[in-house]
C-alpha cells in the first residue's frame, strides 16, 4: 500500500473544500455512493480471482472467522472504553 496514494487526494480534497466552504452547499451523496459500489465491486473481484485465498478457506475458514470476530468485538469494546479520554463526544 502506498500511503501517498491515499494522503495526496485526501489533502487535495480538503484544500478544495476549504476554499469552497463559503460557496453554496454541494450534495455529493449520490455520486459518492456510485463510486463506493465500484470500490466494493473491485474488492470482490480481487477476492473472487484470488484462487490461493479461496482454496485456503476450507482449511482456515473457521479459525479465521473466530479471529476476525473477536478482533472486532475487542476493538469496539476498548474504543468505547477510551472514547471519553480521547475527547470524542
Amino acid at each position: 500500500m502506498n500511503f501517498a496514494l491515499l494522503v495526496v487526494p485526501l489533502v487535495a480534497g480538503m484544500f478544495l473544500g476549504y476554499f469552497l466552504r463559503e460557496k453554496r452547499k454541494v450534495n455529493l451523496g449520490k455520486a459518492t455512493f456510485g463510486i463506493i459500489l465500484v470500490l466494493i465491486f473491485s474488492l470482490g473481484f480481487g477476492i473472487g480471482s484470488n484462487s490461493e485465498l479461496l482454496n485456503s478457506l476450507p482449511d482456515v475458514g473457521l479459525s479465521a472467522v473466530v479471529i476476525a470476530s473477536l478482533a472486532i468485538v475487542f476493538s469496539v469494546v476498548l474504543v468505547k472504553a477510551v472514547k471519553r479520554t480521547a475527547g470524542l463526544e
Binding site: 500500500m1 459518492t32 474488492l43 480481487g46 479459525s63 472467522v65 478482533a71 472486532i72 468505547k80
Partner: protein, 210 residues
Amino acid sequence: MIKYILAALMLGGIAGYLDANWATVVNSVWVSGYLLNASLMLLLFVMGVAFAMDKNSISKIRRTGPRILIVPLAIALGTILSGLVSALILGINVVATTAVSAGYGWYTLTGPLVSQIFGAKWGALGFAANFLRELLTILTVSLMVKVDKYAPTASGGATAMDTTLPIIVRYCGSDTLITAFSSGFVLSIIAPFTIMAIASLGQVPNPLFL
C-alpha cells in the same frame, strides 16, 4: 443501502472468479488493482472536500487534538488481546495467532509476512482472518453504528484509512473522517512492527494446527 453493497461485492466476487477460472476477459490487476485504487483515490478526494466544507467537523478535530491517537492504540491493544483469547478458544499456537491478529485487517501485509515467519498455513490464516475483518466491517457497518459512532472505525482497524473508510464516513458522518483515517493510518504503520515483535516472542512448537 447495504443490499447494494452486498450485491456489488457478490457480483465482483463472481466476476473475479469467472475471470480467473473460466474465461479471462481482463487482467485481474486492472480491476482489483487499478480500478480499486482509482475509485479509492476519487472517494478520498470527495471525502476531503466534504470534510473541509463542514465547519463542525473541523472544530471537532481542533477540540480533540492529538488525543485522537488514543483510538488506534485502544484498537491495537484490543486486537492483541483478542488474538490471545482466539488462540485459547481454538486451541492453536498463541504467539502465531496473536501475530495473525496484529495485522489489524491489512491482509496483503499479514498474509505474506506471517507466511514468512510461521509458514504457508499460518500465512493463509493471516490472509483470511484479516480479509474477514474487512469484510465483516463492511457487512455489519449499519448495525455497528447503532452500537457506537466509532465502532465501525474500531472494527475496520487498519482498513479504516482506505477500503472501509468511504463506508464508515457514509454511515457515521463526515466528522468521523479524521478519526477513522488517522486510526487506520497509525494501525497500518504499526502493523508490521507489532507482527514482528509478537513473532519474536516465540517459535511455533507445533506447526500442525486445526
